[in-house]
Symmetry: C2
Subunit: 348 residues, 2 copies
Amino acid sequence: MAITTGAGSPRSASVKDVAATAGVSLGTVSNVLNRPDRVSRTTRERVERAMADLGFVRNESARSLRTGSTQSLAYVMLDAGNPFFTDVARGIELAAEAAGLSLFLCNSDGRSAREGAHLAHLQQQRVQGILITPVDPDDPQLDQLIERGTPVVIVDRTRAGSSFCSVAVDDVLGGRLAVEHLIDAGHKRVAYVGGPESIGQVRDRGEGARQAWAEAGLPPEDLVVLSCEAPTVACGRAAGERLVGLPARRRPTAAFCANDLLALGLLQQTISSGRTVPGDLAIVGYDDIEFAAAAAVPLTSVRQPRHDLGRRAAELLLDEVGDPAHEHEQVVFTPELVARASTLGRPS
Amino acid sequence: MAITTGAGSPRSASVKDVAATAGVSLGTVSNVLNRPDRVSRTTRERVERAMADLGFVRNESARSLRTGSTQSLAYVMLDAGNPFFTDVARGIELAAEAAGLSLFLCNSDGRSAREGAHLAHLQQQRVQGILITPVDPDDPQLDQLIERGTPVVIVDRTRAGSSFCSVAVDDVLGGRLAVEHLIDAGHKRVAYVGGPESIGQVRDRGEGARQAWAEAGLPPEDLVVLSCEAPTVACGRAAGERLVGLPARRRPTAAFCANDLLALGLLQQTISSGRTVPGDLAIVGYDDIEFAAAAAVPLTSVRQPRHDLGRRAAELLLDEVGDPAHEHEQVVFTPELVARASTLGRPS
DNA sequence: AACCTCCGATGAAACGATTTAGACACGGAC
DNA sequence: GTCCGTGTCTAAATCGTTTCATCGGAGGTT
């Protein structure tokens, strides 16, 4: 039952109310909350009874004002609609839960302005630390957070200087793996379907593709680059249409997409326009999200250790928060190609 | 630049530090922050200069302790890995952003314990209000939140009593639409692939399916119910294997799945085992997530207005927060069947 | 009986912002 | 010269919790 002040609206009970009801002092109530072993059993039970009767809910603002720190972490995601990032978030969540901290998820949706607003708000909230897959890892706002005392770990990107911890996957290698796989399968003309060059992941994967292509001694003009405005399913479909529009002798026989969303869009457009995969077009995606394996033509994709990525990032953050002798670390995981029917099968 | 205390570590600057640096009083700094028009231009600029020099970051804990309210909402999601819920979240986000509030996303992952921990923490944080897709809408913890003054809006579920606002979609109707569509196409034996009965959405959609089946005068035993332990892609695949295991004369010619994750799993299993969709098995999903249309055999699905669901829920919450004369409202949206190739096409 | 020790409980002082009542200076009007 | 209003700024109280120095009493030791 909530306390009512005069004829007014219910106001939540404070430690003071609890103390008065239980007939003890403020400090004792606080001890029951924070160091129960220092309070005798009878007093403790009396206080706990009072808390239950009054419906006492600890005020986290007051607590963190006094102690100077909160019990929460935050992960600022690049795109909450992409299952890859929600999987990373789940890895982070597990680590945070194990450490007894709660995790707030924020979605920047690829927009700098939203990202900035989230960061400012999190900083004001005094979260213990921030994990972020940034729109731009060189954004000075990130340095500013560090300077002002909020630890930051960069997820799925790296950064030249080393004033941050970061956890990433070798995207250049991932790009190479994908294209080498296609070259091995005998393809002589391949498309790279990327998003905007402003996205680091897209740049690196494309770079890896070019390296593999060059090392195989194939002519650069036979690696056709298609840029989309965003790495989404809809853009993948659009890319498929552009591919069909090419003259047959210039048309690639395989495509490597910068992520699985693009690949799934391309796959759908290809099949619904009457062509076959991989017969008319082999397709490699990136991220190996659950829907990749579940597609009707299961998608060959470059797998990243999504959970480990998140878990490791959270561990680094927790270490930075807890250990004064913390040293920044740049973890790079190795991606792995998962070959499935979209490049392997020989359709009837 | 952060203030350094003696030889110690940097501590973030407070209004007091800003006041001292600018040579004004505490109250003036606060006025610059909250009522800039009450401060003369020269003083204001001096204070702003000091804030920038010191790297002042307002302490939200102190602010909300004093004012008694925060600037945030929260949405507790049932499954962050299901694109349906991230789409709902996006709708909420837009409304929150428009109201100048920030939104925290929490993931209960279908587990009551996690949900409870999140709710307790949010209550302690004194968020303005909570949107939730609950594991169990009758959980007494939800009533307790209301009693203690935190407004709650239930999303994608309804509840018998009306002490809450809620925004839902008519799941019984959705189930009917799906099964009527299959009956119209001439199917005489249909499977309902649901998750555990503990999930309300699963129950309601199944109920709608049964109603439509009964009204068509078809024998109840020809509506085969398959229960999965969770509504996921993996379970959809497993359901597909169970379907194949049935004797041919009892095997359904169509399946209605409680959500698109199940449907995509079932679709994949069906095709990879050499059968065709919809030739050997027609499939209807539910939610119409983006991957449904993007599947290689585009999925017929029951569409819910995901964005509107989120947006409307947020609006109800904001009204409840802002308007003392607020009346609880139970909004029910109408679902819509989107017919695609998985039930329509006639494969070669 | 005097002394020491511990255990439990107390009360006051923070934490950093907001808010409110009032101080002060400066003109202008009578 | 007094009075008033206006525009700025100040000082102090306050939000709910934690923490720390302190205090009283029970029990044991000499």
